[in-house]
């Protein structure tokens, strides 16, 4: 098992190399003179020249690439012009906010989509089946940023149920001591239920917005793969052996149906991380997405590149986790690894 995981880790290496090459190309593709950009609008000619040498832009591309990779490994992802902080530190600082939002959104989506897909597949033609189809078609058509605004309008402005859609905590609460960076967890560790409630309230609308978007592909895939599995021969065998419906449904059908769903999860993460940026902007969520947007608006490129790289590495990591989970569920994949 450990060996299989190590093999998969090795399998992720080409993806990481590809990602690094692309981000390198993107940093060098800056319109005009990158040095001029990094020098900022006020940079003098000497300053630009200095930066050019400092960035190694006077050297050959392979040399530049090697030093780029060296910088990345050493944790030097450049500095943010607007805040003056190292990009990596900024990203590390804001990553927990993004991750908390993403994971809660994913959790919500999974908790709704999978039972929905299973129910729709076990009762074809019923109202729940139609509901599932409706949700899956409508869900993928929702522009995340728009649903977020609508939710904020309805639940904050009209109904007043949700707090104002600004940030992770209401202005009167103080952030819990840093342990994991996830406010929900940290506040519980600190035993501060008030902060927990405040964090949860702030989190719920953006998380629902995210969940609404990724619900559709998940439910659709669950339904389709569950339908396929339920008509499989081995389900008939299980039924012919008189196994309890719950055993047939969970131990036999569901575990098998999970495999294609796990595969889709890769795509779902791609959507999730992308929509995350939009949701962070709508709800002024202090994660790496809004960090990148602020930098974009200020034409501050190092944070944007750092953001792209961080997201890509995160995505590679998530795909790796999916692979490992797949191996846990499917013995055939374990062998191939």
């Amino acid at each position: 098992m450990i060996q299989a995981i190590l093999k998969r880790l090795l399998g992720a290496v080409p993806a990481i190399i590809g990602v690094v090459i692309v981000t390198f190309v993107l940093t060098r593709a800056l319109p005009g003179d990158p040095a001029a950009y990094f020098a900022g609008p006020a940079g003098s000619t000497e300053a630009i020249e200095e930066i050019r040498v400092k960035l190694g832009l006077d050297r050959s591309l392979p040399e530049q690439f090697v030093s780029y990779v060296g910088d990345l490994v050493r944790g030097d992802w450049g500095n943010s012009l607007t805040t003056g902080q190292p990009v990596l530190a900024e990203i590390a600082d804001r990553l927990p906010a993004s991750l908390e939002l993403t994971l809660v959104g994913l959790l919500l989506a999974v908790v709704v989509a999978i039972p929905l897909g299973v129910l729709a597949a076990t009762r074809p033609g019923s109202w729940i089946d139609h509901l599932c189809r409706g949700i899956t078609t409508a869900g993928v058509s929702l522009p995340t940023f728009f649903t977020g605004l609508l939710l904020a309008y309805v639940f904050y402005f009209l109904l007043g149920w949700a707090p104002s859609p600004l940030g992770r905590l209401d202005p009167y609460a103080t952030a819990p001591d840093f342990v994991t960076g996830f406010y929900l967890i940290d506040s519980l560790i600190a035993g501060d239920l008030e902060t927990f409630a405040s964090a949860a309230k702030q989190l719920i609308l953006p998380a629902i917005t995210l969940a609404l978007f990724v619900l559709a592909p998940l439910a659709r895939m669950t339904r389709a793969s569950m339908l396929g599995v339920l008509s499989a021969d081995f389900i008939r065998t299980a039924r012919a052996s008189g196994l309890r419906p719950t055993t047939v449904l969970f131990t036999y059908a569901f575990r098998n149906a999970l495999l294609p769903v796990l595969t889709t999860l890769g795509m779902v993460f791609s959507f999730l991380l992308g929509s995350n940026v939009l949701v962070e902007k709508v709800f002024a969520w202090p994660g790496i997405g809004s960090f990148a947007i602020e930098a974009l608006v200020a034409s501050d490129y190092a944070p944007v590149q750092g953001f792209v790289l961080a997201m890509a590495l995160l995505y590679v990591l998530l795909n790796l986790l999916i692979d490992v989970a797949y191996g846990l569920v499917d013995p055939r994949a374990r062998l191939e690894a």
Binding site: A15, T137, V140, S270, F307
Partner: protein
């Protein structure tokens, strides 16, 4: 939406039974529309959007860029059906005018990735070898990124222009077309009719362009229609965060962004109408994509 390439479609040449195929197509069409009235609605919406895009400038009641055609921030009324924004511009006019830009970006991006990705995939599938390995690597590398994030990075690096939005959207769509084309060409590469064309003295390129590529068009069309909605969403998302299209230009994503700050103070119409229309357009393309897939590839009906 669906990223799965339909690898195993039957390898029958389109030319084989042209009239029979048309009849079958027609019957399928009736079936799809009969089965799912939503398809008919989607087709109607599609025509509606095409008309809006084509005739928009002649339809709009006000100049979409002119401020103070009405009082700023006035809610929907008889004079301004969708209300006015902070500058007193007519939202209805702006929403209608934006159709052309939004659909244009999506169509251009999808067309670009269709042509480039389709050709790369067809070559990779047909000839295999190093070209296949390289193009597969390229598409895998693109897919190693969360796609919207990659698009952000590309636009940020290449410059904040509409052309680069198109390019970025095309690049993140490329792998889907490449994979479908590659898989479809591979299953047909050694089919009887291809072999026959080769034996008849056709060169490899001729076989590829005259016999194989026409046959992979149907699954590629399905991919296009499934991708269109997503391409529109991506482009609008990029403008929402301030990339590409710049104000005062009318574009759905920007308009939603402009309306965002007013939502919390209750001026809902500024963001609502462009958002709704955007949603409707994406919904229409997604529905159409599903119907088209049912039509062309009935076995994948779910």
């Amino acid at each position: 939406m669906s990223a799965t390439p339909s690898a195993a479609t039957t390898a029958t040449p389109v030319a084989a039974t042209q009239s029979g195929a048309v009849a079958l197509w027609w019957r399928n069409l009736c079936y799809v529309f009969g089965e799912n009235p939503l398809s008919a609605i989607a087709a109607g919406l599609f025509v509606f959007f095409i008309l809006l895009a084509a005739l928009g400038p002649w339809l709009v009641p006000y100049d979409p860029l002119a401020s103070h055609v009405g009082d700023p921030l006035s809610p929907p009324s008889a004079a301004h059906w969708f209300g006015t924004d902070a500058l007193g511009r007519d939202i209805l006019s702006r929403v209608v005018i934006a159709t052309r830009l939004d659909l244009g970006i999506a169509v251009a991006a999808v067309a670009l990735s269709f042509v480039v990705g389709g050709l790369m995939g067809a070559f990779a599938g047909y000839f295999g070898g190093w070209f296949d390995r390289i193009s597969t690597r390229v598409s895998d590398t693109i897919m190693a990124f969360p796609l919207f994030v990659l698009a952000m990075g590309i636009v940020a690096a290449m410059g904040n222009t509409v052309a680069n939005i198109v390019l970025a959207t095309a690049i993140i769509n490329l792998p889907f077309y490449l994979r479908v084309a590659r898989a479809e060409v591979r299953v047909r590469r050694d089919a009887g009719f291809v072999e026959a064309a080769r034996l008849a003295g056709n060169g490899e390129l001729r076989v590829l362009f005259h016999h194989l590529i026409p046959n992979i068009l149907p699954p590629m069309m399905v991919q296009i229609s499934l991708n269109m909605g997503w391409a529109i969403l991506n482009a609008a998302g990029l403008s929402f965060i301030g990339l590409g299209v710049r104000p005062p230009e009318a574009e759905w994503g920007i308009m939603v962004a402009e309306g965002a700050q007013y939502i919390v103070s209750g001026e809902w119409w500024i963001a609502l109408f462009p958002g709704l229309v955007l949603m409707l357009a994406v919904f229409c393309f997604n529905l159409l994509g599903d119907s088209l897939r049912d039509l062309i590839d009935p076995r994948r009906r779910t």
